[in-house]
């Protein structure tokens, strides 16, 4: 069981993700340089946060052309698990692996703070350890996190359960005041139709340790690693 964390030039949450996987969950994690062209040997891939290519032009707009993205597309198409966090989410949108787009926060400022999220879909590989409707607290840190999509796409996302997280009040109400960046439908995270690709703006890797005072982010890693453990056992059985 091996998770690849992609390193684009300018990624800066790559080490944080690897730290959580290795030190908190004792999982095997490897940093994958963006010029790699194959993801053979990885069971899941994380596109971490940061400022790939400085976010010059538009967040994620240049990273999507990195050589490794062809491999990520292939990996996702074959049903591989792909998680994009913050800049990684932006890159997945630019690569059209997820629907919609990001624009600047409505305050036009970078925002770093804890927000509350309501889990809308607990059936994905990344959220299966959670309970639908439960409120999680996680930090955001972005300047371009206002999620937008055309009305048809939004309708489809809602109808097919692709909205995974929504910004909400601590009590779980989805309100305008609880929306930090102006995202349509308070959307904080969406998954692909097949559910194997998740993009989310909040940073679960920043809240997965008791020493940091918040462990709500464990949800994502527990779900993901649990799923990988289950499939690898199944795989071994099948091969036998």
């Amino acid at each position: 069981m091996r998770v690849g964390v992609i390193v684009f030039p300018g990624s800066n949450c790559d080490h944080d993700c690897a730290h959580v996987l290795r030190e908190v969950f004792k999982a095997e994690a490897a940093l994958v340089w963006h010029k790699e062209t194959s993801l053979r040997g990885y069971d899941a891939v994380i596109l971490p946060g940061g400022f790939s290519y400085g976010d010059y032009l538009r967040a994620g707009a240049i990273a999507r052309f990195s050589p490794v993205m062809r491999a990520v597309e292939g990996f996702a198409r074959e049903g591989g698990l792909v998680l994009g966090i913050c800049n990684g989410f932006q890159t997945l949108l630019e690569a059209r692996l997820l629907p919609g787009a990001m624009v600047r926060n409505r305050s036009l400022q970078f925002i770093c703070e804890d927000v509350h999220l309501r889990l809308e879909n607990a059936t994905t590989a990344f959220t299966r350890a959670g309970q639908p409707g439960r409120v999680y607290r996680m930090p955001i840190a972005h300047a371009e996190g206002c999620y937008i999509a055309d009305p048809v796409t939004l309708r489809t996302l809602e109808d097919t359960g692709q909205v995974v997280f929504r910004y909400c009040t601590p009590e779980g109400e989805v309100t305008e005041a609880a929306n930090p960046n102006g995202s349509l439908g308070n959307i904080a995270g969406v998954c692909s139709r097949a559910g194997n690709v998740l993009g989310m703006m909040p940073h679960p890797e920043r809240c997965a340790e008791v020493v940091l005072g918040n462990e709500d982010g464990r949800l994502i890693f527990e779900s993901l690693l649990g799923r990988l453990a289950a499939t690898s056992v199944a795989g071994v059985t099948a091969r036998r």
Binding site: P9, G50, Q109, I111, E205
Partner: protein, 735 residues
């Protein structure tokens, strides 16, 4: 395009005095070339040579059991155990930030980050101390927005969290704001790199961005005062590229994991000139540079421009001969420029070639150790007599002390700085245990149980009224803030911000401040391991208040269980360590409510300070108390209100000192800490304080949703919070 002839006007334009120029003639035995004139000009500028401050800075204590590297390198280094060291420094970027706030502040962050990773340490946090002018001025708002966005733009992109600092306002900064940036990194103790050239024949390698025409004479600009109405020489401000710096950081750290590297230094102020000269000087060797090899942004740059450019995101390094290809491969991988631009030579001189000709040849020593050093005249400023007097009769007691408390909480200097901090990524790196806004920031050190506590402090009013005591108070407060998280202070870095050193009154302030810092550091056993001096912070002859900014780094043995803060349990006794005296001099209250800046700053008794700090640290280490809170600007009233913000729990308190109620509530007596303690432990804490010799009074209990100070104040916690939370927006940003 030929070089201009060396005329009197040209010499003056380079900021060199007649005497200094005569010395150049004597050193060279001939007229300097234009390039040499430029080299002398920047190396002998105040910014690079510390010519007015060097004789004074020697008085600062700089050694101690934890010190691995003291002043003189790119940053200071202290041992934090587990085979690791903390590398830290603070630097000012005042002049550029006033001229062009976004880029000025951004490149200030970029510069200090390079100072840290050039030593082999991965930066783990920045803090900044910001001072702006009168909040009522539109320009202040423009500068606040620009500076904060610049710090955020650079630090966030680099992925280095900005975890704390201070931000305050005073009209003395109307024409000269202060942007002081602190950075700390962590490295293995045996992998610290120095800015030292060595090994004759070793290649001198240029890495990073290309060299352009930006920032030429930035160091000289930072060594002059501004004139009124002058928009300033905007072209001397560099433009930052944090993405390239991020690549440079990763590439340098990758290089440092090999054994190719001999020495490395960032090209900061005075660019290629200072980096090559300083590296040669520290290694007692020489350097020969071939400017034709330097990667340029545009053709046709003169040797003068190449040597003086302050283009950002560049480093100069010396590698082992024969390992050039390995170095090149690493920097190419990260899409950076890399070029062998010279060699280490035995003769201790800087020789610069361009187009095949030698365009400069100067001995190293006169540019470094032998640079001019002045013991400038100092005279006690006349204003001190005038401001020393403060008669209690002049200060009318406010009728509504609760209202006064709310007003103070919402005043620009005391109000919540969340608007600032939320624009900084303060969590990236996943080490931030205590978030911005507390007495000090706290970071865990990965791979260990330890934590680093960081505080930046300074009080310009105290230093204006009494520079020596003001500086000593800043050292005490910064150390106390670190102690409030349970950490043991290990070392200090400072930024000393002043007006023109050519004014004897400013020089007197400077000398006094150095003595005050030296006293504080000696009394608390703290070495000053790095620092920076910024003179010429004045406009049209009006200087800023003397403003030393003190940063203290503390070490916490066990970082777990420190995330909470403030009052957190109903019924907990509230204890006050230290004494409240009738001291209103220099207080925020006196300025904000009465418009007075007078009297002496609070007294400082080192026995008391040590006893209070020791008690607090010991009580935290034994797990007896909840997170502590320093009592500083705004006094006890404000400190108690601040303790309610985390949980919303109020308190009922009774203060029995027989002094003026406003001094009791808002006076800023030093050496005080507010503690809340589980009932069962209160006696033990009091006993501990007795042993240490620290006054300790039980002043009340946590509980309810009001802050009640019997007979004086009775306000809802929610009102305190509202005033505090909205203050900055109401008074400064007007949104």
């Amino acid at each position: 395009m030929g070089d201009p002839p060396i005329t009197k006007a040209l010499i003056e334009a380079h900021g060199l005095t007649g005497e200094e120029y005569a010395r150049i003639l004597a050193l060279l035995g001939r007229e300097p070339t234009y390039t040499e004139l430029g080299i002398f000009s920047v190396m002998w500028s105040e910014h690079c040579s510390y010519k007015s401050s060097r004789v004074h800075l020697r008085r600062l204590p700089s050694s101690g059991p934890h010190v691995v590297q003291g002043p003189g390198e790119n940053a200071g280094v202290v041992d934090i155990g587990d085979g690791l060291v903390a590398v830290f420094k603070m630097e000012s970027h005042n002049h550029p930030s006033f001229i062009e706030p976004y880029q000025g502040a951004a490149t200030g962050v970029g510069g200090i980050l390079r100072d840290i990773f050039t030593m082999g340490a991965r930066p783990i946090a920045c803090l900044d101390s910001l001072r702006f002018g009168d909040p009522a001025l539109p320009r202040t708002r423009y500068l606040v927005r620009g500076v904060v966005a610049g710090i955020a733009g650079y630090g966030n992109c680099m992925g280095i969290p900005t975890v704390g600092g201070e931000c305050s306002f005073h009209e003395c900064y109307n024409g000269n704001i202060l942007v002081n940036v602190f950075c700390v990194g962590v490295a293995p103790r045996d992998r610290v790199f120095l800015g030292r050239a060595a090994g004759v024949g070793n290649p001198v390698i240029y890495v990073g961005s290309r060299t352009g025409r930006d920032g030429i004479h930035g160091a000289t600009m930072a060594s002059e005062e501004f004139d009124a109405g002058e928009e300033g020489p905007r072209t001397t401000v560099q433009v930052g590229d944090p993405f390239t710096e991020k690549l440079l950081l990763e590439a340098c750290l990758e290089l440092m994991s090999t054994d190719c590297l001999v020495g490395i230094q960032d090209m900061g102020a005075a660019g290629l000139t200072s980096s090559s000269v300083e590296m040669a000087g520290r290694g007692s060797v020489g350097v020969e540079l071939d400017l034709d090899q330097v990667p340029l942004r545009e053709p046709g740059m003169s040797p003068y421009e190449i040597m003086l450019s302050e283009s950002q995101e560049r480093m100069l390094l010396v590698a082992r001969a024969g390992r050039e290809a390995e170095v090149e491969a690493i920097f190419r991988k990260w899409d950076l420029q890399v070029a062998v631009v010279g060699r280490v030579i035995a003769e201790p001189l800087l020789r610069v070639r361009h187009g095949g000709a030698v365009v400069a040849e100067v001995a190293i020593d006169p540019l470094t150790r032998g640079a001019p050093s002045y013991e400038r005249p100092a005279a006690r400023p006349a204003y001190l007599e005038r401001v020393a007097r403060l008669s209690a009769a002049e200060v009318a007691l406010p009728g509504d002390l609760g209202g006064t408390l709310l007003m103070l909480l919402g005043s620009p200097n005391l109000a919540d700085k969340r608007w600032v901090f939320r624009q900084y990524d303060h969590m990236v790196g996943t080490n931030t245990v205590v978030l911005p806004g507390a007495d000090a920031a706290l970071l865990r050190v990965k791979g260990t149980r330890r934590g680093l506590a960081l505080a930046v402090d300074g009080n310009h009013r105290f230093c204006y009224l009494d520079p020596r005591r003001g500086a000593a108070l800043a050292v005490a407060e910064a150390a106390r803030n670190v102690v409030c998280l349970g950490a043991k202070p290990l070392g200090v870095t400072d930024c000393l911000n002043f007006g023109s050193p050519e004014n004897p009154e400013i020089m007197w302030q400077f000398s006094e401040v150095v003595d005050g810092i030296a006293e504080g550091c000696r009394e608390l056993g703290l070495p000053v391991v790095s620092g920076n001096v910024s003179f010429y912070n004045e406009t049209s002859g009006v200087p800023i208040y003397p403003t030393p900014t003190i940063a203290v780094l503390g070490l916490l043995e066990d970082v777990s269980g420190h995330a909470a803060r403030g009052f957190c349990q109903e019924g907990d006794p509230v204890l006050l360590l230290g004494e409240t005296r009738e001291e209103l001099g220099g207080s925020e209250y006196l300025k904000a409510v009465h418009g007075l800046e007078a009297g002496g700053p609070p007294r400082l008794a080192w026995d008391l300070e040590r006893a209070v700090q020791q008690t607090c640290r010991e009580a935290l280490a034994r797990g007896l108390v909840r997170p502590a809170h320093d009592c500083a600007e705004g006094g006890l009233g404000v400190a108690l209100a601040e303790c309610t913000f985390g949980s919303g729990l109020g308190a009922r308190v009774r203060l029995t000192e027989g002094i003026r109620p406003d001094a009791l509530l808002f006076g800023e007596s030093a050496s005080r800490i507010v503690l809340s303690v589980p009932e069962a432990h209160a006696g033990e804490v009091e006993a501990l304080a007795r042993v240490q010799g620290a006054p300790c009074q039980a002043i009340g209990r946590v509980g309810g949703d009001r802050l009640v100070i019997e007979g004086l104040v009775d306000v809802p916690v929610s009102a305190c919070r509202e005033a505090w939370a909205r203050g900055l927006e109401r008074q400064v940003l007007h949104v």
